[in-house]
């Protein structure tokens, strides 16, 4: 249970919502309908789970107006989108430790860097030359920031983030531990079998309100820059190649790999484990389902694309696989049959 407590009335006002029940009901945490205990607020997003209303131990529930029975007893906050309301309330119960403002004595800061007021820089950070860190930014311990980097207002780097030289990050960003931004793109030219390095002369430009997951990597551009637009959400262990452009408000789930020079539209959703080839373009609002491999451009906005095969009992799959590998033979036999029919 959190040490933070809010009254039902406070939470409703915070959301700009109406409420039913005891305005002084004290909420000290969030729980799902099934797991909530007394003192928790919960939410009912999907009307199919209405039966949980009878058994939940939550002290209050965020609910759509239409799911509320007449004369239902209890404490409720009315919301069009209870899941979104839950998301907003979750911020009130966030227990991420606060840090001490100022620069830790052990941080190494290169010459010409400008650290604004209200910034926190943790122990053993290494900050290069001519780095600009804007007001309210929080650089947790052991981050390494290269020369000429810029970090916008209220952006947080969790511990052990690495930013190479010249990377720019906008405002209100959140980069999780182990993220590496601005490493060299995979550029190699072949000379009689031997790879010659193509030096990567661009950098990475990240917009405002971008969240980047743990151990995600984003390579710097070969000639121009790799660009992540405003509001993009990237999960853990994602790899984004050089020169990629990710459009605003696109979400990219874990373990996705995007090869170089691909341009992804705005408001796209790319599910876990997707692989996207290089040098293609994806239109806005495209959804790609988990485990798919995208091999060519999608020019029409708004579609859903897939190629993943769901696992099944292995003997079944092996039989199917044997048939698949002999599809040509099956096709030939059908042709023979068709010819006989004529």
């Amino acid at each position: 249970m959190s040490q933070k407590k809010y009254s039902l009335r406070y939470l409703a006002e915070f959301l700009g919502s109406e409420f039913i029940g005891n305005p002084d009901c004290e909420i000290a945490g969030i729980g799902s309908l099934a797991s909530a205990i007394s003192g928790h607020i919960s939410f009912l997003q999907d009307s199919n789970y209405k039966q949980y209303l009878n058994t939940t131990k939550a002290s209050a529930i965020i609910i759509k107006c239409k799911d509320l029975e007449q004369n239902q007893s209890g404490n409720f906050i009315i919301a069009d989108d209870p899941y979104l309301a839950y998301a907003k309330i979750s911020a009130l119960f966030d227990d991420t430790p606060e840090v001490i403002l100022g620069t830790h004595a052990t941080a190494v800061i290169g010459e010409g860097s400008e650290i604004a007021s209200g910034v926190s820089i943790g122990p053993y950070c290494i900050i290069g030359r001519r780095v600009i860190i804007a007001q309210g930014a929080r650089i947790d311990g052991a981050c390494v920031i290269g020369d000429d980097v810029g970090i916008g207002e209220n952006t947080r780097l969790c511990s052990n983030v690495t930013l190479y030289h010249k990377v720019k990050i906008g405002k209100r960003g959140l980069l999780h531990s182990g993220a590496v931004i601005g490493s060299d793109g995979f550029g190699n030219a072949n000379e009689k079998g031997v790879w010659r390095k193509i030096y990567q002369l661009g950098t990475v430009i990240i917009g405002n309100d971008v969240e980047i997951g743990a151990n995600t990597t984003i390579d710097r551009g070969a000639i121009e820059d790799t660009i992540i637009d405003d509001g993009v959400r990237i999960d853990n262990q994602v790899q984004i190649g050089h020169n990629v452009h990710v459009g605003a408000h696109t979400a990219i789930a874990g373990c996705v790999g995007i090869a170089g020079s691909t341009k992804i539209g705005r408001y796209c959703m790319i599910a876990g484990g997707v692989g996207i080839t290089g040098h293609i373009e994806i239109a806005d609002r495209v959804i790609i389902t988990g485990g798919s491999n995208l091999g060519k451009s999608i020019t029409e906005s708004g579609g859903i694309y897939a190629s993943g095969i769901p696992a099944m009992p292995h003997r079944t799959w092996w039989r199917i696989l044997a048939r698949l590998i002999n599809l040509e033979d099956l096709m030939r036999r059908v042709k023979v049959l068709e010819r006989k029919q004529l």
Copy 2:
């Protein structure tokens, strides 16, 4: 060759096994049957490789009783499971450098933390407030440990591990470099196209005897905790989403991704590169073969599941792919033929 040396008798006693041959035969390392040199001990797990017994240069061999010919000359240790016996002996030849006990002068330790006796904390570690580190734990250099973390007895964090606040790790654990435990789960609610962060209020609870590979990430729970039970083995570059529960003694190979809120049973084996969707349950003792995508729950324990397609010459594959994409047409043509037959 290791600087550690053991007599054949010592090794047999260590294993609780019988031996044949010279009890004073000195063993200074381990080799495979094919590559062993004099002074090595080797093992024969699979009777199909018995011919190697004639050519190996190993000074001693761990062998099943049934694979031993009558009057065979040489030095042997008898074991029901030579591979397991090899595993046990491998600990004797481990050359992981020992560390100096105590806390390095450069480690930063927050107030209220309790470091037990016999603990080693390396240079440039950053340890938060109210952290409990139990006896015999080893925290290698440059680890970052958040507030309110707990680390059990004899657990080792290799260099550059990051633990976020409130993460709990049991006894005898081993976390490899670059592992990030407790980063935010990928929780976002959509408000008119814009993602609103869902603050992640749970943490990660890891049991005893758990090994976690290099650059693996395990996200903290959204509301409740992400849980890794006792004896779980996780390889490198694995991503485990928020609220996931991995049952005891399950093994997860490299590059696996497990989406949020999925529950995996005990004694499962998940091979490399598998993707597992969110919000499903997998029964105990299930095996998932490499490169498969698991999309729905498995309720029966003990099965093997697959969906990976093995690579083949690309022209063959492209022909099959063309047929696959036209499977509907083939089906239609078979229907036409069937109708004509009637």
Copy 3:
């Protein structure tokens, strides 16, 4: 625009190429034909893009002799392989910040280590005992290097690289941030359901001119060593298991996973997201296309292998998937038809 400027004559001489036009034309950067501005040099690799020659704002172009029209005006450098020429020139415009030679005062260096002249060791590096670092090597800040490691001449470790004990790296290597070399291989023997650790007694040996991407992991060998030969290029987020041998001049793109004890030939190209099973051998000059799963050995050199399925509209894919899962039924029906024909 870079602060570095070179005359057209200088660049041509640097390449050993002929040039046409104004020898004093000043080049201060590189741009693609489409994006170049005045002062940039560009290149035309593919004759299909010749129309860009009329519109590009580049001040000079690297071009094949055959693509040059008679009496064409402008500044040109003639090259057999303009892309390779671009790669070579890119080194001249590299803006990776230079470092101060010498060992930063905060670096911790274990006893018995030998640091050659002309080496740079950044802040908060932790270097073990008996480490040998050869002339011209550059160890950026916050790297952790275990005991008995060897690093060859002019090799660069970017920030936050971790090398476990005994790892050896050749000359002119480049390891990107977050790379972990020498972590334990995933070795476990099962004893009545419980995993027993197999201690990993080998190490990792990396040749000359090897580049390793950000957050890539290479495990140490179980008994012998994991080996990466000369000239290998490895992208980000690649996982290489224990005992793997990667042959010289092979390139491995992002998110590839290679399971233990597999041997990959020389001059191979492994595209993004490929999964390769353990204990197999791949011949020289083999190409594996993106998203494929390789399950068995390839004994013939030079082929191209594939098994990835390109994503398509999800309704189409689901229909195909339904047919695929019923392939056995289709086969049976074709057999019935064939029997009736007889």
